[in-house]
């Protein structure tokens, strides 16, 4: 055990956990990384490419090395950073990316082969033979590389989403963030304070610095209590603001129950979309390192992380208490770590400072003008080589901290192409002044990392932001604090022959950057993609700037000239599950149920998804072995007797006003304004480019009142298009539109006995052919007083009606019609029979109205009125469309029992089958119980003139070809007598 004194862990609450099957104990407040360190575990994983032993490197979300597979079973999660994984009772974790035990990884052979695995290796090596890539190389590489593995089981947890709005969003709850939130909260502004950590305080609780002469934890606790008491402040811990979007919109993930063994009744994570009027970015800074030979051994870590582990988690970075710790620094910050470690009773070898005139702040040895030039220790650091003035000597150490300076976390300020700006005094990039509008960086994120200046800056940023919103915020009294000395020199890496890692996660070394330079991959975006530097889960947070500095050195350019790669969301990894926000399985999208859905379900109907709708597909009866039997029976029942089908899904749009007729004349290709009250007309809409768009009926219910129906698929689109025409093209017309699709349950009553059936439920209404002929409509009452609308229209070609009632009565109406029509053989039918009936009748539907067809092709050319203008009329007459000779015709297979495939293409008999000889295609096909054989509709060149001819329908994908006879599209009652009877 290498547990130190103090810290923000609760020693009264021990927690048991396992790592690679070995049991350990930590405390509440620990992360997995701090608990492992406190148990003397340095070796936590293997590197991505060379399988080098690795230990924890950082203390936050920037961690490149210590990634584990967390949990087991369906909740197993790969690539979880041990540094942000809160310890819980029973936690199980395993190291990843090794074959065999962690301390003896068989794939470590890759490290010996490293000369072959340099940057660009894959691009160059696996090019030939080409076919080997997909079958051999890629699978093999994927197996060897990559990190953790997935459980391959469905995710058992729930996820949620939500929307928040505020005046001020404060990102980060360190010194600057707390000061900003407190100033804004006291001013009464709506404030959201978000931090990825589970505790507030940021670096305040990781440093040994004092606020008002006491540990900062006291001040943090006081501020937290006050913020919690303010109703206008929302504190969101465990919440990562991962992306900045336009106009003050932010994406954030709240890890609601990742810190619990299982979520229980809670969701696992919540995706928040936050709309903020102003934002203070107080995201702090991330420390960087200075590459040197063999700098990647377990035990080598960031000096600031070492300090954080000691102060916040009372964990020492060494395996045994008597192992010494050394610090390698290019400035004063490294000395702080030495002082804090000494204060905690750790054994410090000394500080290796690259500066010739290095200061000394306490009782420890200073190696001035020195560098670290080598390390030893296969599975954990045992000694380091310190070189000074050309002389080298080895020293025994158990851990080495590296302090290379701090990079402000400029990421979110750079999400809108805000290019960070180099600050020569700070030797770091600071946020661009032209970052996202309304976002003010503050504190360490703005390059003001001293405790006193961060507090001041956070408060000032909040006051400035609120002033822009005309909310006056007063200054708050800040605790007494100091700015620790941050003197440093530019020192980026220790030159040498051996490998010096820059990016630990992707195993990119200084040599790889040099190779990229030699191969002319010098622009940073090329460097990134050629070497993979800065990719993967850590996105190079600890390595990018060092890499730029190395490249700048090689090219002889300055760092700002070299520039950074583009910053894009997310700041840290976001799971796809939370982006889905719970929309999975049957809840993937909301479903629409027809008014007779429950009735149909009770009849045992099979349902089919039609867009969002669930529609009855067919109604199987006992003894029917397969769907065709049910469908054939339903079709024949309609042709011989009477059938019922819920057609509520068709769009219904009320069009009212004195100019309604004129408006409809402009919307429909055919004339509508002349329609008489009480009459219905079939209507065809074109797109403005002249192609057929949608069809349906238009009923004139009153002088100023029309009811338009659309196809199911286009209901929303046609309504939108009509609103466009109304508002954008002809706002001068006095007309009003509103959808009534859901308001009315509409049931098709079709078949020769439909009149007989309806006569039993209408209240005093003359249904005779004389009084209510084909294409009539009326408002009436049925079933003793219920208001209803009746339309005499037919999709099946039989005598038929559609009856609409307020939707709540649809269920009872269906049941009543079934009851009253029992002796007439009344039969409910679904979408399959509906489709067969319309194909037999030759009615165009979705497969024919597919956006590539014209009115002429569908045999509806005469409907495009030349007496008036309408949408699409002009373009429908252009040569390319008018000259198209393809026409909708019917087809019968030579052998009636051979199925015709919709989508087959049509060729002349005996012709070679290619694009040049293609004469059209089959749009719809079915088995027709009426024709006792397979039939189809399709578009055929010169189709109207070729009735009786034989053509070939080919399906080259399946190697199929069959002979078809061209016939009229009207297989049933071509004269149309039945529907007029």
């Amino acid at each position: 055990m290498t547990r130190l004194s103090g810290g923000l862990i609760d020693r009264s609450r021990p927690l048991n956990f396992t790592f690679n099957g070995i049991s350990y104990t930590g405390f509440e407040g620990d992360t997995l990384a701090s608990a492992l360190l406190a148990n003397g575990v340095q070796l936590m994983g293997r590197s991505f490419k060379y399988h080098r032993p690795r230990g924890v490197f950082a203390a936050g979300s920037e961690e490149p090395n210590a990634m584990v597979e967390l949990r087991t079973g369906a909740r197993q999660e790969p690539n979880t950073r041990a540094t942000v994984t809160e310890l819980f009772e029973g936690l199980t974790a395993r190291s990843q990316n090794h074959m065999g035990p962690l301390h003896r990884d068989f794939l470590a052979v890759n490290d010996l082969l490293s000369p072959f695995f340099a940057a660009g290796f894959y691009y160059k090596t696996f090019m030939w033979p080409k076919a080997f890539w997909e079958k051999l190389y890629e699978p093999a590489i994927r197996k060897a590389a990559g990190l953790g593995s997935l459980s391959m089981l469905p995710d058992p947890d729930d996820y949620d989403k939500g929307f928040l709005h505020c005046d001020l969003l404060v990102i980060g709850a360190g010194a600057a963030g707390l000061a900003a939130a407190l100033a804004a909260g006291r001013a009464g502004a709506e404030v959201i304070l978000a931090d990825e950590d589970f505790a507030l305080g940021g670096r305040l609780v990781m440093e040994g610095d004092l606020l008002d002469e006491a540990l900062a934890t006291g001040w943090v606790a006081t501020v937290k209590a006050e913020l919690e008491s303010l109703p206008n402040v929302r504190i969101m811990t465990r919440t990562t603001v991962f992306g900045v979007y336009d106009h003050g919109i932010f994406g954030a993930v709240e890890r609601v129950s990742d810190h619990l063994p299982t979520p229980g009744d809670k969701v696992r994570q919540t995706l928040w979309r936050i709309t903020a009027k102003r934002t203070v970015l107080a995201a702090g800074a991330t420390e960087r390192h200075m590459p040197f030979a063999d700098n990647d051994r377990p035990g080598v870590m960031l000096a600031g992380a070492m300090r954080a582990y000691a102060n916040r988690w009372a964990a020492s970075p060494v395996k045994r208490d008597d192992d010494a710790i050394a610090i390698f620094t290019n400035g004063d910050d490294g000395h702080r770590t030495a002082l804090d470690l000494i204060a905690k009773g750790a054994k410090v070898l000394g500080v290796i400072d690259t500066r010739e005139t290095a200061p000394k702040f306490g009782d420890y040895e200073v190696f001035a003008g020195a560098t670290v030039t080598g390390t030893k220790g296969r599975l954990g650091l045992t000694s380091i080589e310190i070189t000074r003035g050309g002389r080298s000597e080895w020293h025994s150490v158990g851990a080495l901290g590296i302090a290379g300076g701090w990079n402000p976390n400029v990421h979110l300020a750079s999400h809108h192409r805000g290019r960070p700006v180099w600050n020569e005094r700070l030797l770091a990039f600071v946020p661009s002044p032209d970052g996202p509008k309304g976002l003010i960086p503050a504190g360490a994120a703005a390059g003001k990392g001293g405790t006193a200046e961060a507090l001041e800056d956070g408060m000032a940023a909040a006051i400035k932001a609120l002033a822009e919103l005309e909310i006056s915020a007063a200054e708050i009294s800040l605790p007494k604090a100091e700015n620790a000395s941050a003197e440093q020199v530019a020192f980026w890496h220790v030159p040498g022959q051996k490998r010096a890692w820059v990016d630990f996660q992707n195993d990119v070394t200084v040599k790889d950057i040099a190779l990229a330079h030699r191969e002319n991959m010098t622009p940073v975006e090329h460097l990134k993609r050629w070497t993979t530097l800065g990719m993967a889960t850590d996105q190079g947070k600890t390595s990018n700037v060092s890499a730029l500095a190395v490249m700048a050195e090689l090219t002889g350019k300055s760092i700002p000239e070299t520039g950074t790669t583009m910053f894009r969301p997310p700041y840290t990894g976001v799971s796809l599950a939370v982006l889905g926000g719970g929309d999975s399985g049957p809840l993937f999208r909301p479903r629409r149920l027809t008014p007779t859905h429950h009735w149909a379900a009770a009849q045992g109907a099979e349902f089919v998804e039609v867009g969002p709708w669930m529609r009855a597909q067919y109604f199987p009866r006992k003894g029917e072995m397969q769907w065709r039997e049910s469908v054939d029976r339903e079709v024949l029942a309609v042709r011989a007797g009477v059938g019922l089908c819920d057609v509520t899904t068709l769009g219904k749009i009320d069009v009212q006003g004195p100019d309604a007729g004129e408006f409809l004349n402009r919307i429909y290709a055919n004339m509508m304004g002349t329609l008489k009250v009480g009459k219905v007309r079939y209507g065809l809409m074109l797109r403005e480019d002249g192609h057929a768009y949608d069809d349906g009926t238009c009923a004139r219910m009153g002088e100023d009142h029309y009811v338009v129906t659309t196809t199911t698929a286009n209901a929303g689109l046609v309504y939108r298009q009509m609103e466009f025409a109304h508002q954008c093209l002809w706002p001068d017309l006095d007309v009003q539109l509103i959808s009534t699709t859901d308001a009315w349950a509409q049931i098709a009553v079709a078949g020769p006995k439909s009149r007989a059936l309806l006569s039993r439920i209408v209240d005093d209404f003359d249904l005779s052919n004389e009084a209510f002929p084909f294409m009539s409509c009326a408002a009436l009452t049925i079933c003793n007083g219920l208001r209803a609308r009746l339309f005499r229209i037919s999709f099946s070609g039989e005598l038929a009606y559609e009856l609409a009632v307020p939707a709540r009565y649809g269920h009872a109406l269906m049941a009543r019609l079934m009851e009253m029509g029992a002796d007439l053989g009344v039969t409910p039918y679904g979408t399959e029979a509906l489709a067969v009936l319309r194909i037999e009748k030759g009615h165009a539907a979705g497969a024919e109205l597919n956006g590539q067809t014209t009115a002429q092709m569908l045999g509806l050319g005469k409907m495009v009125s030349v007496k008036k203008d309408s949408i699409g009329a002009v373009m429908s007459r252009r040569e390319g469309l008018a000259a198209d000779t393809r026409r909708l015709v019917g087809f019968r297979s030579a052998d009636p029992q051979t199925q015709i495939m919709a989508g087959s293409h049509l060729f002349p008999e005996g012709a070679e089958q290619n694009m040049a000889t293609d004469q059209g295609w089959i749009t719809s096909a079915c088995y027709s119980p009426h024709m006792k054989g397979y039939i189809a509709l399709g578009l055929l060149e010169d189709g109207a003139a070729r009735l009786g001819e034989v053509v070939v329908a080919a399906n080259p994908l399946e190697g199929q070809a069959m002979k078809l006879e061209v016939v009229s599209a009207h297989f049933v009652d071509p004269e149309g007598g039945r529907l007029r009877d």
Binding site: Y245, D246, H247, G248, I249, T275, E688, D689, R720, E723, F724, H726, Q727, C728, L729, P731, D732, D869, A873, V874, M875, R877, R878
Partner: protein
């Protein structure tokens, strides 16, 4: 994005359906001698500038109004929004 709806104030763009170049509002005269050519241009040729653009947004999950939004396509800065029926009405 937030769309400054002229009646409802700032509304999230998720409530809207985007329709592109506002020139769609200016349907050619079908009676004009070169009507077909004018329609071809109207239907098929749209401006897609890098910079300030007047475009149509439909408040489909809102008050179902069509808006003409002036937006800088390079920065997403929105310079104004008007009801399309007002724009058309003023022009007529």
């Amino acid at each position: 994005m937030l769309i400054p709806h002229p009646l409802l104030g700032l509304r999230d763009s998720q409530e809207f359906t985007y329709f592109g170049d506002a020139s769609l509002m200016w349907r050619p005269d079908p009676e004009a001698p070169e009507a077909e050519a004018a329609f071809c241009e109207y239907v098929f040729l749209r401006d897609n500038p890098a910079g300030v653009h007047r475009e149509l947004w439909f408040h489909e999950q809102g008050d179902r109004s069509w808006l003409v939004v002036t937006r800088d396509t390079t920065t997403h800065e929105i310079l104004g929004a008007e009801l399309a029926s007002d724009v058309k009405g003023a022009a007529q």
